[in-house]
Amino acid sequence: MPAHIVRLVLLLAAFMILAVAARNYMLDPSYYQFGNYRGDAVIELAAGDPQFRGPAYCRACHAERHTEWTAGAHRSVKCEVCHGPAREHPAAGPLPKPDDTVKLCTLCHEAMPGRPAAQPQIVIAEHPVPHDGALQCLTCHNPHAPKIGGQGEPAADQSAATPVTAETAATAQISARLVVLTTPCAPCHGADGRNASMSAALAGNQRAALVRKLQDYRSGTLQHPVMNAVTKSLSDEDIADLAEHYASLPGGPTQ
């Protein structure tokens, strides 16, 4: 064989050996293990640490809260939605308690076009208890069972949760003006003013006593975050009508 042919063959052979060696050296052993990719990449991606641990993890220490939460209207909202991912809690320190609940709660509950009708929503400006900065949602609502008077609430009184509608107003024989006036009262004091489990019963009290109380709340002589806020905009006539109304209702425990 002529020498130049031998050289060419040797050169070709050397090139091929180099190419195969380079391929073997550079290619990850797990490449082509399952397909045209590195098999070990799957192992690496599956190895991460979960940050969200789920309610069962929280229950191990906070069983009482867990029970309260599962009975309330927020049972579909898991612990970590508001408190953030548990990660290494408790070893890594406490989880945050949201301080601005107005900001947090309105993420889901601010009335907004696009939200399904089934979602409980409030027009902030029209909320019975006005939000004036000092008052937070959790002043009145237990975040773990937020429905006032609902199941799992300290005040397990269904009548308190009944909003004043035209129908209930008719049965109570109160005027349209009183419907508006009593709307902020009903969530805590009950539509019939007889709920005393989470607040004072109003029905059956003396008219003068109710007037004095309302005036004291309005002036700030009596301090109560919710009562001060809801009485702030009441006129003397409003107070007189409210007192007249609740004094005229039959007292006694809620039926």
């Binding site: 091929m16 399952f34 991606l45």
Partner: protein, 281 residues
């Protein structure tokens, strides 16, 4: 001339013959080496086939994951977007995200929907920070004829165009139906970002690689739900195993008339939607 030519011919033939033989010999040698390495990798695959993969207690051949989105339930609270970022260490700004929610609003007298998402400047202003997410209430006093929210994310296609275009084999579809990115092999060319018909991929400037939703592969291989499904307060997001006849995702698919986004692309997504609308794609 004739003599020269006839003298030349055997020379050329010889050369071609020898060169051909050399090529064949070389190819056979190389081929043998290739065959050997192929046999080696097949052997390692066979070794692992008996054991569980990719973790000891999770066998990816036993699962076929799918995702359901009920857009009629979504309230646009964006807890999914925030949870995804915490879970996966996505940059906490408004412009890098693996999942997002679109708001479609039709105003009185308008034919086209107004669409916005958490990265809209007005929404960033409403949240007060680029690392907190909320929809502002800009339409509260408008005459809205129709409005709804649509959660979006990687559709984990059965025929993913992103995998098709990757020049280095850095993105692939797993046996259990999730499209993943090998961050060490990705060269950051962004072909896949361009190829995805759903805009589900983004470029991570920190790692100089492409990035996207993995259905929280590190969670689902441990028996957990993806973070977005875990935190959704209204069960608008559903996840489960198609191989399990009683799974929530099978129930979702069987009990609803489900759609996929952009079926005309042939990508065959495994994210199934309820409550889409003409303009949603």
């Amino acid at each position: 001339m004739t003599q020269d030519a006839s003298k030349d011919k055997p020379g050329r033939r010889d050369f071609l013959r020898t060169a051909g033989k050399a090529l064949v010999a070389g190819a056979m040698g190389g081929g043998a080496l290739l065959a050997e390495s192929a046999a080696q990798s097949e052997k390692s695959a066979a070794d692992k086939a008996g054991a569980s993969f990719p973790t000891d207690d999770y066998d990816w051949t036993e699962h076929r994951w799918a995702y359901g989105i009920d857009a009629t339930r979504c309230i646009g609270c964006l807890r999914c977007v925030e949870a995804c970022k915490s879970e996966n260490g996505v940059q906490p700004d408004a412009h890098h995200f693996r999942t997002w929610v679109e708001r479609y609003v039709y105003l009185e007298g308008e034919e086209k929907a107004r669409v916005d998402s958490h990265n809209d400047p007005q929404n960033i202003a409403a949240s007060g920070s680029e690392s907190e997410y909320r929809f502002d209430n800009r339409y509260k006093d408008a005459e809205v004829t129709k409005a709804f929210f649509v959660p979006k994310m990687c559709n984990q296609c059965q025929h993913p165009s992103c995998v098709q275009v990757c020049p280095v084999g850095a993105t692939f579809r797993t046996e259990d139906g999730v499209v993943l990115i090998d961050q060490t092999y990705c060269i950051g060319c962004e072909y896949c970002v361009q190829a995805c018909p759903y805009g589900a991929r983004y470029f991570n400037e920190e790692t100089r690689t492409s990035d996207k939703c993995t259905w929280c592969y590190h969670r689902i291989t441990k028996g957990l739900l993806p973070a977005c499904v875990e935190v959704c307060p209204v069960e608008a997001r559903i996840f489960g195993d198609l191989n399990d006849p009683s799974s929530t995702i099978n129930e979702f698919i069987h009990e609803n008339r489900v759609h996929v986004l952009k079926p005309e692309t042939g990508n065959a997504p495994t994210c199934f939607y309820v409550g889409l609308d003409k303009e949603v794609s």
